[in-house]
Each structure stands twice: as C-alpha cells, then as structure tokens.
Amino acid sequence: MNASIAARIALRELRGGLEGFRIFLACVILGVAAIAAVGTVRSSIAEGLAREGATLLGGDAEIELTYRFANEGERAWMNEAALSVSEIADFRSMALFQERRSLTQIKAVDDAYPLVGKLELSPDISVSEALAMRSGQPGLVMHPTLAERLGATPGDTVRLGTKEFRLTALIEREPDTRSAGFGLGPRTIVKRTSLEGSGLLQPGTLFSSLYRLDLPPGADLSVMKRAAESALEGSGMRWSDARNGAPGVAEFVDRLGAFLILVGLSGLAVGGVGIAAALRAYLAGKVRVIAILRTIGADQATIFMCYLIQVGLLAAIGIAAGLALGVGVPVGLASLIEARLPVPAVFALYPAPMIEAAIYSLLTVLIFTLWPLAQAREVKPAALYRDAEAANTLPELRFIAATVTAIATLIAAAAFFSGDLWLTLWTAGGIAGALLLLALAGTGMRHLAYRTRRYTRGRVALGWALAAIGGPGSTASAVVLSLGLGLSVLAAIGQIDRNLRDAIAGDLPEIAPSYFFVDIQRDQMPGFSARLERDDGVDRVDAAPMLRGVLTEINGKPAAETAGDHWVLQGDRGVSYAASLPERSTITDGTWWSANYSGAPQVSFAQEEALEMGLKLGDEITVNILGRDITAEVSSFREVDFSTAGMGFIMIMNEAALVAAPHSFIATVYAEETAEAAILRDLSEQFPNITAIRVKDAVEQVSDLLAGLASATAWGASATLLTGFLVLIGAAAADQRARRYEAAILKTLGASRARILSGLALRAALLGAAAGLVALVAGIAGAWAVSHFIMGTQYSVVWSSALFIIAGGATISLLAGLGYALGPISVRPAGVLRARD
C-alpha cells in the first residue's frame, strides 16, 4: 500500500464536491453540535459557580449549625480564625399582610451582612437603610413573588409572628442564594435583632444558624476546614467553602449535563446509521471506479486507505462545523441564556466539552464506517463486466475487532467524561439494545407487510405501499432505525413524566395531609388541638415532638464506614421521642420500650433504611442534637411509609432521652379542602409563631421541577429525532431514483398522479406510524421499568402521549417522504424508462 497515492486518489475523488455527502456531514454536524452545546453550557455554569463561589456562599467559608446558635467558645474560634464573621439565622415562617398569609423563608441577618457581594433592592437603597428601625417599626425586604402573593408593595406594613415590619424594598438579586430557585417559601430578609418580641426564633424553633467567615487573604481552605473540624468537634457543624459555593446546584447541573450528553450520544448513534447509509450509497456508486483501480494495480489496502482518508476528511469538516455551531450558539446567545438561568454562568470557549464532543463523533464515524469501508476492499476487477454491486459479506475479522475496539473506547470515553460508569453502561446497553430491537422490528415489519399485501384487494394505493414496504429494496429498516431511537426516548419521557406527576399531583393529595404545622411550642399544643378537634372538616391530626439531629456514628465509628453515603447521613434528620408506640405504627423487629422507661437511650429505627444502612438490632448509633451527642441502642425496627407524605420519623427515641432538650412539636392535619382556609387563618391568628406548610403547594413545586427535568430531556431527545429526520431525508433521497422508476412504470400502466402520490404518502405514513408503534412499545417498557423498579409508583399507559408518538412518527416520515414524492409524480415516463434501457 502506498499512503501518498491513496491520499492523491482520495483528493481527486473529492474534487467532484461533497454532493453525496450532505447527509453524512449533516449527521456529524448535528451530533457534535448537540453534545458540544450541552457541554459548553455545563462548563459555563461550572465556571460561573466556581468564580462566584464566595458570593454564592456569602463568605470565604461557612459554618452551619442546626437548631441553635454558636456558643461562646465556638464563636471565639471563629472570631480568631476570620477577619470578620457574619451570623445569620435561616428558618421558615409565615408572613401576613391584611388577610393574606404566605409561607416565607426568613433570613435574619446581622450588621455585617452581606460579607461578600451586594444585595440588590428595588428601590435601590442600602441594606442597612432597608432594614433599619424607623418610627419604631423595623424594616424588611422580600422577594417579589412573596410580595405578589401577599398583595403588598413597599411602604406597606407586614407582620412576622406577632410583630409588625415595614416592607421597604423588594429583592432584585440575593447574592448568597444556593438553591437555584427551588424552595417553598420565597425569601424575606430582616435584622435578627428586629425579631425580638415577634415570638419567632424561640427555643425549639427549627432553624439553621450560618456563620460566614471572611478569611485572611491566601488562607488555605482545606487547612481551615480541618482546623474547624478539630476545634468544633462534636458540635454537629457543617463546613462549606468557596471552592464549591453551591455544591447542590453544581452537582445537579453536572449530573443533568452528563445525562443530557448521554441522550446526545443516542442522537450520534442515529446519526451513525445515516453516516453508514450515506457511505454505502456513495461506495455503491464507486464500484466501477474501484474495479478500474483494482484492474490497473491498486491493492486492497490502497483502496481502503483511499476511502478512509475521504471519510476522515469529511469527518474533520463535520466535526469542525459541529463544534463551531455547538459552541457558537450558546456563546453567541450568552446574554439571553444568562438572563434565564437561575445560577451564574461564564460563557466562553471551553476546550473540554469540545474535545469530548470531537472524540465521541470521531469514534462514532469510525464505528459506522469501518464495515462499509472494509467491504469496499472486496470489490473485484470483474465488477467491470459483471453486475456492479458492492460486496455485502462479513468483513475480515480484524475489521470486526477494530469496530468492537472503537465501541469499547467510546463507552470508556463516555464513562470517563460523565464520571458515572453505571449510567454510561446502562445508556450504552440501552442504545445498543434499542438499535437491535429496532432493526428486528424493521425486518418484522417487512414480513408483516409482505404477508398482508394479499388482503388489500381493491385498495390499490395501500397494496402498493405494502408491496414497497414488504418487497426488495424496502426502506422499512432505515425508517424504523432512524426514527425509532428518538421516538423511544420521547415516548419513555412522556410516559414517565405523566405517571410521576399523576402520582404526585393526582394520587398524593388524596392520601396526604392538608397542612404540616411546625414550630408549635409545648404550651401551645392544647390550644392547637382544641381548635382542630371542634372542626368537623378535620378528619385526623397527628402530632409529635420534633428535633433535628445528625447521625454521626454507628457502634463508635464514623457512620459512613457502615452506611456509606446513604441519604439518611446527608445532613440533619428529624428525630422524635415517644413513650408508647405511636398510632398507625408497626414494629417489624425488636421490642418497644415500656411506657415509663428511663434507662440508657434507646431508638426505634425505620426498617427499610436500617436494612439499607446495614444496621442491626443492638447496634449503637450516635446522633448529634443541638451540639450534644446522644448515643442510643437500636431496640426495634418500624415500618415507615414516606410515600403518603404523612409524618414519618427515621428515628424515634424513648421519651427520657430527649424530653429535656429544647424542642417544638410538628403536626399534620388532614382536613376537607373547604375547611383548610379557616384552619390556617385561626391557627395563624392564635399562634403567630407557628408555620404552616400547605402540602398542595409543595406538590406543585415538585411537579414543576419534574416538568422542567422532563422538558430538558425532551429537548435532548428532540435533537436525536432531528438527526433521525435528517437520516430519513437521506434515505428518501437515496430511494428517490427507485421511486421515480416505479412511478414511471405505474404511469405507463395507467396510474394517475394522485394515486401514485397517495401510494407514496401511505407508505411513508405507515412506516412512520410503525416506527412510532415500535418506539412506543420500547418507551412503555422503559417507563414501566422506571416506575416499577426505581420510583416504586403505579404505572398506567398514558394514551394521549402514546398517540402523540405514533402520530409524530407518521408525520415526520410523511414530511420526509412527501418532500421527495414530487419528483416521482412529475416524471415523464418515457424519459425515465428509456434511460434504463
């Protein structure tokens, strides 16, 4: 083989232009662009979060305590370590304006707030001015959403607890926000000192205290973290620092980005089908050229190299154009996107997502072109005087091995870039399985069409359509493969999304309580219960003491050593106590303590979670509550059902273990919808410090979040579908010559243009609908598996989405088919037929 000769021939061949490679290029460009675009947005957000880390956090570092403020010793350490410290209390409460009440997340700040960044207000006044005491009334600022809910405007008097405040401004931008917009209560900011006399922040109130530290320049954050952990050991504190100012958001964006890129890979796989088809069509037209080259002395390796070089050059052009598009669009639209993002982003050219997209594309091109290229090697000089057809045999073993290696490399690269091996393997398996299923479905469809053709007597157009689907040269497999994958993903999303949202928004409110009431003081409990007992609209009230604690140790060792990264260990959890087994509770193992038990602390643990964490009866767990470690023996396991949104505690201790600690009560109220407003009004009036959380509002929030996730995934799947559409156009274009010929014969036999058109349309629509049907079956199977195995929810087929998928498949196929039907129906038969003589 002579590589330079192969290159020279390759360039001569490409001199003719890129006519036969438009679909090839389009598939590469679209696949690269989709992945590069998602990657660029992800990197831009990551960079934004990194740069704004300190601002998002509100300081160089933050120490969070649950349920209490720092004691003198802790505060002294902070004052010594930092140049300045800002103390914030963060908790939920109710804001009241005239007769309107709304849940709000209160940030009670000190004079140092904000340590970093700027709180932007409307009207544009300073924080100290906004929160200052004026005419005996302290100021507060709130998020416009809350003001809108209350119907309040700056200048109005708003009540928090039992105290009145003046709404001085609305929050335009809160620098230290880490929630990316998800929260039940919109923000209210107030001076902590102003809350005195409001009845809020009493002992037992559920709140977090946040200490933002402004550290000396050049302070080593990891050293500082270790120092804090050592100095404040046993305090139950949580450390965050500017290296990752919004860990939740960063992780969410990272996971969502990785998932969308994997969805993008399915688009690349569909594009691969189109790339292979385009190359096969191109090589089929080159059989004579190859035969001539072989006749005049070119060996197989030269032929292979010649066309590999052409494929490589085209792939390079496609990847370059795809990267320009995929990076150019988000960077070009940076200001638009930034305005809509709830998190900071720095849009720029990031090499990592570009390299990732290029590697994926290059490997995909290789995977889908090696096979046809290897077959081109097999063209014999005899093809010159025999029927010139490309070989359709299995290529040599080394080419199969090379293809398998390329697939393995692609999976390894995807696992590396996504950082999630199992998700990658599931996705790769899913794509491969889906492609195989779709290929089988295409073959099945051909057989079905062949068998049913005989039953179409009298329906000429339908008969032709079935003959074309079931006969030689059928495009059934091409259509099903190109549309099937995108439609399958869309079908699964449609089914999962609707089922999940139905389960949350439809079924849950049926069994869930109307309200959660938190921060009820012990002395308020009798009055609280009395108001509900005399209300006929109330079906049931559950109440329990509520503390929060962090599970730190299991059997004297750090809890993570036994339970890994189980969710129960992530942050603080609700802990309750009870003398006797609460109503509707079932002990599954062990025994409940006696009613007057006052020995060493014992704990009853949720059974399912205990099993997942590897806890056994008799194990000792240490829970840090209010900075105090309480070690208790696991004496029983309980069944806890979190799916009803009712009251469910992972840990319940015996009464004596916790009763002395400052705490409040939590209550769930199950009431008729008509009674809800009056309950809220009366209880808020009587107990202004109590916070009510309406379950329906929470359900709506979760439902909206799910809708957002589903829509992001649907956009990813749409890119796959668009690639499928391109592949379909390619298939239709490649098939057009055959359709023109067929139309010419039919015209000769007396078929009108309308009949020919209806035959072509019917064929395209039938194939598209069938692709939709196959995708629907795959989507329903996937959705059922997700609902059944992962979500643990009931599953029922969503017929509206199902019909949409089938109709969508038919429409897309019809559009691609009709675009290429005008040529065949307008042919003059003689010209086409004589050209074939």
Binding site: I745, L746, T748, G750
Partner: protein, 214 residues
C-alpha cells in the same frame, strides 16, 4: 434537436406495424408518442379518436390503463412487486374486482403460473419479459406497443416471446406497433415503416409476406 419532423402515419385497428431504422432514427420516440408517454412539441397525435396532445397527464394515464399495453426492451417490472402483483396492478388500477384471479390466468397463459410469487430479481430475462407481456395484455388493450421486446434476450428466448406477442395480438384483435432492429421480425408485421433522420417511409410488403413469415 428535432427527432421526428413532418411525418404523418395512420395505423388501423387490428394492424400489425413494424418500425425499423438505425439507432437514433426516432423509432422509440415515435412509439412513446403513440402511447402518450412523450408529448410532441408540435403536431397532433390521435389514438382511439382522441387527441393525445390535448389530454392531461392523468387523462393519458387513464387512456393507457384502459386501452394501451406497452412492452419494453428492459421489461420494466416493478422490483418491489411479485410477478402476480405486477400483472394485477393495471387491473387493480382499472378497478377490476377479480384482478388477482385474472392476473393468475394471464401468468398461466405465458407459462409462468408457478412463478407468480417471485420477485423480478428472482426471474430470468425471458421470464421477466413474459411477465411484462402478461401485464400488457391483461387489461385486453386495443393497442399493444412493443419497444424492441427481444433486445435483451437470446435469440431462442426472443423468438418465443415474439410468438407470444403475436399470439396475444391475434387473440385480442389488438393493434400492434413493434419497434425492432430485426428485419425478419419486422417482416412478420402487416406493414413496415422505416425511419431515417426523423423521416419515415413505408416499405412495400408483399401481401403474403407476413403470412409466410408466420
């Protein structure tokens, strides 16, 4: 470029007409004009009393469906359809209720009853041309147009096809126009027209010549 110029030709019902001439002389173009498969840039083409140049594409298609059968050198069967489906298609287009049965009978006529379920790619050239003949004759056309029907066949197969073609023409009393390079084949027709540079001349046929050739 002018292919046919200032020509006039009448073909009567039941006639068999041979069109001969060198390549590029316009034989096939003339045949295509007769079948309404091409349109003349000027002049008039009438068939079965209708002015073809005045008919729309679809009207021409209907005329062929009901009255004209065409046989080509390259057979031109629909590759996605079986032999039976190919023959049934013009009958189905005409709304014939027993199209499949009649198509089966036509295949039987040309000796291909046992190949009905085969696709064109599974048939030999001779078999494909027999299917094409069956398809052309199935609707009982008034006119049969054949464009070098033996051009792609060996002489033995070709002769068998020609016998069948003339047999069908005789059985249905159709008018047959046959384009051929083969003088012997042309001599089997009642009339022979020679084309040269777009001009036609009728070759005198001895009254008994056609009969003898048979």
């Amino acid at each position: 470029m002018r292919i046919l110029e200032a020509i006039s030709l009448d073909v009567h019902k039941g006639d068999t007409l041979g069109l001969v001439g060198p390549s590029g002389s316009g034989k096939s173009s003339l045949l295509m004009l007769m079948g309404g498969l091409e349109r003349a840039s000027s002049g008039e083409v009438r068939a079965l009393g209708q002015d073809l140049s005045a008919l729309s594409e679809d009207a021409l298609a209907r005329l062929r469906r009901d009255h004209i059968g065409v046989v080509f050198q390259s057979f031109h069967l629909i590759p996605t359809m079986t032999a039976l489906e190919n023959v049934a298609t013009p009958l189905e287009l005409a709304g014939v209720s027993d199209a499949t049965e009649r198509a089966q009978a036509e295949l039987h006529e040309v000796g291909l009853a046992d190949r009905a379920g085969h696709y064109p790619s599974q048939l030999s050239g001779g078999e494909q041309q027999r299917v094409a003949l069956a398809r052309a004759s199935a609707p009982r056309p008034n006119i049969l147009l054949a464009d070098e029907p033996t051009g792609n066949l060996d002489s033995q197969t070709g002769a068998a096809i020609i016998d069948m073609l003339f047999g069908l023409q005789a059985r249905h009393s159709a008018t047959l126009v046959l384009v051929t390079h083969d003088p012997g084949l042309a001599d089997r027709c009642d009339r022979v027209i020679e084309l040269h540079d777009g001009q036609l001349t009728e070759r005198p046929q001895a009254p008994d010549q056609a009969a003898r050739a048979l």
